[in-house]
Amino acid sequence: MASICGRLRFALIAMIATASLAHAADGRNPLADDPKAAKAGEYEFRINCALCHGLGAQGGGRGPDLTRAQKKHAHSDAEMFQVISNGIAGTAMPANGTNGQGVGMTDEEIWQLVAYIRSVEVKAPANPLGNAAHGKALFYGDANCSLCHMVEGKGGRLGPDLTSAGGSRTRDSIIDSVRHPSNHLAWGLTEATKEFPQEYESITVVTAGGKEISGVALNEDNFSVQIMDSSEHLHLLEKDKLRSFQKTRKSMMPPYDPSSLSDKDMEDIVTFLFNVGAK
């Protein structure tokens, strides 16, 4: 009799476990704190996520640093599960199994992934410790960042909008982009069916009329190019009507070495971006 009760209880627990695995009714990872799940999740992560989020989840050129405890799109385990399952509309984050390369994950594997991400989260994130107000002043003032970059609707258009940069990128990768802008060109337009996004390449053309135009590529194919010049004018050009066309992977952004932007000022700007990104 006791053994029947025991088995029934076991069956009930198993049913509940299965249900929570599928539906996450309580919003908590059913595999939370299971080190084996986190290990299995690490394999899933390397295969499915690391392409964008980097090995170790510290952010690649493409996806945010996931080791930060504060995340933009997912706070609870259940939200993280939803984000991994369904992707994030309007971003490069695809729904599970739709990135066209990997195999989709089962619910169990997604929970393993969540367990892994939790296991690598830095509880006290290494946030930059600069002066955000001074960083903001520099950004819109002496450092000239806002000539080309927008933050919260204010600033220039030539470079990428940096409103969300501090919320998704690591401190180190932001500093690398400022110090060595040509190392990893920023990504621009991402088209739905296209494998690679447009990058912030620099273009110089001479028109049939002999006019030279330099700017960043908003988009390009073999037959046309769409450019923004440093005065923020758009030039929509057909290549066969140009006298010359040159493209380089040297960013139009000048590299900021420590003599033009001190390490302290750099830290202040990153802190400003982090504060904006955390909103």
Partner: protein, 597 residues
């Protein structure tokens, strides 16, 4: 469309000089049916008859025929013969027609356009002098999302194609309007690798054949899309699926399985086209007691991969199919499967009737970079030699003697760093330091390969092999996984190397005799488009930016382009209708057709 019977043209069957002329002549001839030309295509078939039965046509024009029969009788006889042949042409795609596909270039009867895999059309109405005026004729929106990889078939005015999630459909090739639609009800727990893609159909008799993502092979009625038979080839829950277009040979429907990412045991199957009964299976990973079994460590053969997910070619002279195979599993980790891992990454020459192995050639032994050798093996006959050529995913262009399977040459046609030496047969072999590591190790080409599933083309006039190529290097990093049925089984993660940017994409024209690249056309970014060659001296291809492009086959100079609004993941084809040559290609979520105004 109905036309009047008995015009002058109908009494004088057209005598074809070349297949290309035949379709033109035929296309301008009015209907010959007593009841008018109802049903499918009223044109195109005349050219077919003329091309297929020139002696008969000559007899009908001869003096003896005229002396024996009255005008009325002569007319009735001609009509009767025409009717019989046309019934056959409309209703049945016989093996004989597949063998002689070159005689009816108005149709596109197999995935690659012919059994040799040449993806070359004998149509020449669109050519280097007039291609600049090529214009869009119609567009069909499939409603599917993801990568549309399908090459349509066209038979007597009807276009058959597939789309993602195992859609299949038949369209009026003149207008693009659907005749029937088939959408498979796929199981909810389906998790195929690499998207819910499908590359196309085979047609034989009055049926079209589809391999499905849930690992079934099905036959649909060509006129209605009704399911005629549906057989289970394997268990999709263990990672088996079909994505490639089957190949119809004699009475058999031949196809190979996908699933190299799950640790399946690969196979190539042949089914009776009439009943769906499986006639043979070739296991691409040999079991105990079979030759090649010793190339697998321990029990690794049981989950050894070696899928066969693209479409092979067929040599009627020797009654052999040539079928390429994919990566061993786990795809990016060699530990635990020591040995060459036959018959992964190989070309197999199988007896078409029995599936017995005649010879094999393994391109990449003990692969650790996911370099499936599933590229189309293309048959070339030149100077009395019977060759088979493959631009392989590992970056080398191989030419083999297809009688013996012996390697003739292997030359790099893209950026490769994995092999600096060749073995005694001339086969490139892997450098010691090319294996993935925990920290990651950069190797060129990357996991996606110098080329991939995208179809190449060959034009016997230019003697050039046209193939889409990419220069991209990846960082290969191990991520050891235990095998679990139906779960991903890669053993590695790979990332495009930032240091190797930009990744370059090309259309390359290779001389198979020397391996020399005669010309290359650089895309803005790498493309997944296949290539079509035509007798008009053109090659057609698509790009990731959504352009459909025609180039001079001799020089690679782009002559025409059209922006389709979505990236290309499919290969183009050509057909003819109403005396007009069409080229067609899938892009974005749609199928586009083009013709001269």
């Amino acid at each position: 469309m109905r036309r009047k019977v008995g015009s002058a043209a109908a009494k004088t069957p057209v005598r074809a000089k070349t297949p290309a002329q035949a379709w033109k002549n035929g296309a301008s001839a009015p209907c010959q049916f007593p009841l008018g030309c109802k049903g499918f295509s009223p044109s195109g078939s005349q050219g077919l008859k003329a091309a297929k039965f020139p002696p008969l046509n000559a007899a009908l024009e001869g003096p003896l025929f005229h002396a024996i029969f009255s005008v009325r009788e002569r007319m009735l006889i001609i009509l009767l013969i025409a009717f019989l042949f046309d019934l056959r042409a409309y209703a049945q795609v016989t093996f004989d027609r597949l063998l002689n596909s070159a005689k009816e270039p108005q149709n596109w009867l197999t995935y690659s356009g012919d059994y040799a895999g040449r993806r070359h059309s004998a149509l020449d109405q669109i050519n280097v002098t007039n291609v600049r005026s090529l214009t869009a004729k119609w567009v069909y929106q499939t409603g599917a999302t993801g990568k549309l990889e399908s090459t349509p078939l066209v038979v007597d005015g009807i276009l058959y194609a597939t789309a993602q999630d195992d859609r299949a459909f038949a369209l009026d090739a003149r207008t693009g309007r659907p005749i029937w639609l088939y959408q498979r009800q796929l199981p909810g727990d389906l998790r195929p690798c690499c998207g819910h893609v499908n590359r196309g159909l085979a047609i034989l008799g009055d049926k079209v054949f589809l391999g499905t993502l849930d690992a079934h092979v099905i036959a649909l009625d060509a006129k209605t899309g009704n399911i005629i038979w549906d057989v289970t080839a394997a268990d999709y829950q263990k990672g088996y699926s079909f994505t490639g277009a089957p190949l119809a040979v004699k009475n058999l429907i031949i196809t190979g399985v996908s699933g190299g990412e799950y640790g399946v045991r690969g196979f190539i199957d042949a089914y009776d086209a009439a009943t769906g009964e499986r006639k043979w299976r070739f296991d691409t990973v040999p079991g105990p007691g079979e030759p090649g079994h010793e190339t697998w460590e321990g029990d690794s053969w049981k989950v050894g991969g070696a899928p066969a997910w693209n479409t092979g070619t067929y040599d009627p002279q020797t009654d052999q199919i040539f079928w390429p195979t994919g990566n061993p599993a786990p795809s990016n980790r060699g530990e635990g499967r020591a040995g060459d891992n036959l018959y992964s990454n190989s070309l197999l020459a199988l007896n078409a009737a029995t599936g017995k192995l005649n010879w094999y050639f393994q391109f990449t032994k003990h692969d650790e970079h996911d370099w499936d050798a599933t590229q189309i093996p293309l048959m070339i006959d030149t100077n009395g030699k019977h060759l088979i050529a493959q631009a392989n995913r590992n970056g080398f262009f191989y030419v083999l003697d297809r009688t013996t399977g012996k390697l003739i040459s292997a030359n790099a046609y893209g950026k490769t760093t994995w092999s600096d030496t060749k073995d005694s047969e001339g086969r490139p072999i892997a450098n010691k330091n090319s294996s993935p590591t925990l920290q990651g190790h950069t190797v060129c080409p990357g996991a996606l390969g110098t080329t991939n599933y995208m179809s190449p083309a060959y034009n016997a006039q230019t003697g050039l092999f046209y193939v889409t190529a990419r220069d991209q290097c990846d960082i290969f990093s191990t991520a050891p996984q235990p095998y679990e049925a139906g779960h991903a089984y890669y053993g590695s993660a790979y990332f495009p190397s930032e240091d190797a940017k930009p990744y370059l994409g090309f259309l390359k024209a290779i001389d198979p005799a020397t391996g020399e690249i005669k010309w290359k056309f650089q895309h803005t970014t790498p493309t997944w488009s296949g290539v079509l060659s035509t007798a008009g001296g053109l090659v057609f291809t698509g790009d990731a930016e959504g352009n459909f492009i025609a180039l001079d086959a001799a020089s690679g100079k782009p002559l025409w382009h059209f922006q389709m609004g979505g990236a290309v993941y499919a290969a183009p084809m050509a057909f003819a209708l109403d005396g007009k040559e069409y080229v067609a290609i899938a892009a974005g979520s749609a199928i586009y057709t083009f013709a001269l105004p």
